[in-house]
Assembly symmetry: C2
């Protein structure tokens, strides 16, 4: 079994209004040292072993469903879970 952590972030060139709103909120809470906030998604998938290639499957899932590759980038980490 694998635990896959997927991080989806907006591309650098894409405006992040949600991040700007959080930044303004932090400034109004006196945290003026915050210069920039970018908000993304974090997903944890638990995937069983199958005959499919894991990396290929994850890449397909990300490109077809989890990330909008026009405006978002993704990266992922795979951890093997050993069940006792």
């Amino acid at each position: 079994m694998y635990k896959v952590k997927v991080y989806v972030t907006l591309r650098e060139s894409v405006l992040d209004p949600q991040g700007s709103a959080v930044k303004s909120a932090l400034h109004s809470m006196t945290y003026n040292e915050v210069q920039d906030v970018r908000i993304g998604k974090y997903m944890e998938l638990t995937i069983e072993k199958s005959e499919r290639d894991l990396d290929e499957a994850i890449r397909e899932m990300c490109e077809k469903l989890l990330a909008n590759t026009v405006i978002e980038d993704y990266r992922y980490e795979v951890q093997e879970v050993v069940t006792k």
Copy 2:
């Protein structure tokens, strides 16, 4: 300058309807090996050096604004950025 990566996830005991929806979608796309999906938030903060204690400031920001600690857990990583 610091780059802080904040991960906010729903607590184990809290239902994740968004994750369930993504899981069903992945199943309908033939990825039946996906057993579980949990969805969280990922935030990148760029923070300038200040006289405030960084860890304490981040913890306050998370607890007051970025995470709802009743139903969410958070963790963070700090990277120091060296400007050339």
